[in-house]
Amino acid sequence: MKILVPIKRVADPANANKVKVSGATVTHDGLEWVMNPFDEWALETALRLTENAADKTRVGEIVVVSIGPKEAADTIREALGKGAERGILVEGSDAELDSHVVAQVLAKIVEKEQPDLVLMGKQSADGDSNVAGTKLAETLDWPILNYVSHVETADGGKTLTLKRELDVGVQTLKVTGPAVLTVSDRILKPGTVKNGVTPASFEYADLGDLNSRLSNLKNIMAARKKPLDETTIAALGVEPARVDTYVGFKLPAGRSGNTTYLESVDDLVAKLQTEAKVL
């Protein structure tokens, strides 16, 4: 099974409240660049689908692709260190990218690489749009399965049984690949990703263990030698023509007033009744 995993580098989302704005630009001075966490979950899902976890052998191939400045190569190297086989950097400035351009670029890469699946985050932690994966699927005329919380592959990824989280409840689906999948917050709970190779008795550790694959020095050394191809948006034949434009950014208004600390339930009830008037 071959899986393409698009990854984006974003300013550290844990410090998103330190982002600054100036006119029509967002600046991230002093913030670390990290892999978009939603993509990080997709990558880990892809790794689980392409390995025998019991004997730690790879049984499939992962190609990671990132569109962005040269520095995005660092994010790709991180993915290679975790176990992905190859990387592709499509050079482009963040300013010329929107979900439309990203979908066009990824479609070109898919045509070239012919993966069985594309696995990606449902949104980037900066733009929060939740659009690119679905646009990519339509561009390819493939199914899109957003918010996947369980995935089981058969026939080398050609047949998929999935669960996905909708606002109204959980939907179960059977899908004939190739397809684009975006993952939900629950995708890495034990027992949610099955590829028919890793024995059913094997249990992955729970969430929060995403960096364990990077603790292996051998993997990191090996990652330096893994192929990382570089191309550009123009070389792929995509015109970087955005279909939207941000005319300005601002910071949200802070909440007015201070926090009143209370010691007793009676005080809280009194405040809610007489001051806030919500009881």
Binding site: A137, V168, D185, D244, P252, L262, V269
Partner: protein, 322 residues
Amino acid sequence: MTDVLVVAELSLGKIRKTTLSAIAFAKTVAEGTSGEFDILVIGDGAEDAADEVTGFGARKVLTAAIEGDYRCEAYAPTVAAVGKEYGVLVACASTYGKDLMPRVAAKLGAGVASDISKVDIDGGELVYTRPMYAGNVIGSLKVTTDVQVVTVRQSEFEPAAESGGSSDTEEVDVVEADVASRVESLGIEVVQSERPDLSEADVVVSGGRSLKSAENFEKVLEPLVDALGAAMGASRAAVDAGYVPNELQVGQTGKVVAPKLYIAVGISGAIQHLAGMKGSKVIVAINKDKEAPIAQVADYFLVADLFDAVPALTAAVKKAKG
């Protein structure tokens, strides 16, 4: 003059209330640009459900009956075929709207303004406001294609009220796509609750991982939820731990809520959680740790053990409400 097509959301053959936020957007844009708006009701039971939205002042209510569970691949071709005649297509930014509308947009080569909190009309041009970076940056966006596709944040668009009159209904042709045959739904476990919907409730009580178990959600938190007539929410950590189902998650990747009163019980307040509730009018935190980041947004912070405080608060609320 901008004509708007509202794409209604159905569940179990009924219009979901999310649709009313999309109608509210459509009214604003149609009125502000001297255009009109129509509503497309698509899915299983569309023809019967259409009657629910004929009283909102739409020029027409269009119906497209498609049997079976929702699948984006089965709906998008029809929405695109109908939608190409409009200036703006809008749905609520529920999982339905966020799943369906980008596919429609790609079919039409349209730009998407996703999960917007506001629309302004500037000399006939639409300018969308949308929270980004988990609500830490507010962007102003223009879409530059002939057709614009929009999803609206439910908590920021007051549901439209019925305005009387009765729109004509009209059936439209269903357009099929081969790709839909590759996606088979084996069912949706629809969660039904007697409580108010999370996105619509005036009061939300959310629990975090400190509740320690599903049983404690039931025994400790739910009595308070019900005493207040509130909706129940949860932090991602509590959902991940399996204490409550995913539909209750409040945050950057869950529901975004803005009730009159939000009570966060045993929630530390990760940046992703704050993104989903900091627009609430009054925020109460109940937490042992007064340094918890939830303090950044809390109006009232009860420093207490939730296992003592919540039952006491439940009793006090019951007494206050008589």
